[in-house]
């Protein structure tokens, strides 16, 4: 039931603007807010990508410490 409503609301997007939207410059507001949110999502994506780099650095650091530990034991 709810799923059908959600799907229907997706179809709504293709429809027309409401009368208020023109008078109050909501279009500018829409683009502005959209840009802000998309920027946030892009930032998150960038953070996720950086994780990979940091993980690689941590790995090499750990290997270095282990090698030194083995040498210290001998």
């Amino acid at each position: 039931m709810a799923l059908r409503d959600v799907a229907l609301s997706f179809l709504q997007v293709a429809g027309e603007y409401s009368p208020e939207a023109y008078g109050r410059n909501f279009r500018a507001l829409f683009w502005g807010l959209l840009a802000a949110w998309v920027a946030l999502c892009a930032y998150l994506v960038w953070l996720v990508a950086r994780e990979r780099q940091i993980k690689r650095q941590l790995e090499s650091l750990r290997r270095m410490v282990e090698v030194r530990e083995e040498e210290a034991q001998k």
């Binding site: 709810a2 409503d5 959600v6 609301s9 997706f10 709504q12 997007v13 429809g15 027309e16 603007y17 409401s18 009368p19 208020e20 939207a21 109050r24 909501f26 279009r27 507001l29 829409f30 807010l33 959209l34 949110w37 998309v38 946030l40 999502c41 998150l44 994506v45 953070l47 996720v48 990508a49 994780e51 990979r52 940091i54 993980k55 941590l58 650091l61 750990r62 410490v65 030194r68 530990e69 210290a72």
Partner: protein, 226 residues
């Protein structure tokens, strides 16, 4: 693999937000009594829902940490609390924007906003406590206790503040209950979805960061010992 999932989630969130913003701003008509600023409710309310969900998850993780001693739960708890605090602050800010527009002043000691403010102070205290303790295990244990006490207190705080405001100002609730048309309810939940997705991505990032931080400190200690 993990990275791909997270990027996918962020992408879905962005898509949903674009769709919702379009409907919220350009298609939904003004609400009868409150005009245009009413639309901020579609972020204001789901922010609160998300914050509570995250605080609850933090409490569960804290309990699990105390039960098992596995520090991963502690990483989850701090990540969940931080992200929850961010959403709680967003709730406060959007609430004040709405209030400034509707009531003329940003802060009127409305029951919900006041309770949320106290919640923010509670969890800000949690983060301060974590910063103040250096040993990871002790930090995890103390933070876990605080998280459990904080969330146990949250419903009591809400009830007491609500009763307090109702006693002093027995006015009708500003919104809620039946006066919202089903369109609005649908959009409310529909907008909750991208916020939850973003919360999940933020949570995953922060949690990984916490674990990497801990591993760095452990490596540093071992390197010093050499």
């Amino acid at each position: 693999m993990r990275e791909r999932i997270l990027i996918l989630l962020a992408g879905i969130a962005a898509g949903l937000l674009a769709h919702n913003l379009f409907i919220i701003l350009l298609q939904l008509p003004d609400e009868r009594l409150q005009g245009a600023v009413f639309r901020v409710i579609f972020f204001h309310v789901p922010d609160a829902w998300t914050a509570f969900l995250l605080f609850f998850a933090a409490m569960v993780a804290s309990i699990l940490y105390l039960a098992t001693g596995n520090l991963r739960y502690d990483a989850f708890a701090v990540a969940s609390t931080e992200v929850g605090l961010a959403f709680a602050l967003a709730n406060l800010v959007t609430g004040m924007i709405w209030g400034a527009n509707i009531w003329g002043t940003p802060w009127t000691w409305d029951a919900r906003l006041t309770s949320m403010l106290i919640g923010c102070l509670l969890y800000a205290g949690y983060l301060m406590l974590r910063h103040a303790v250096e040993d990871p295990t002790e930090r995890a244990k103390n933070a876990a206790v605080l998280s459990i006490i904080a969330f146990a207190d949250v419903p009591i705080i809400f009830f007491s503040i609500r009763w307090w405001r109702r006693m002093l100002h027995p006015e009708p609730v500003v919104w809620g209950g039946g006066f919202m048309s089903p369109d609005y309810w649908r959009m409310l939940f529909l907008n909750w979805a991208p916020l939850l997705l973003l919360a999940a991505v933020l949570l995953a990032i922060r949690m990984r960061q916490e674990e990497q931080q801990r591993e760095l400190e452990a490596l540093r200690r071992r390197a010093h010992a050499l």
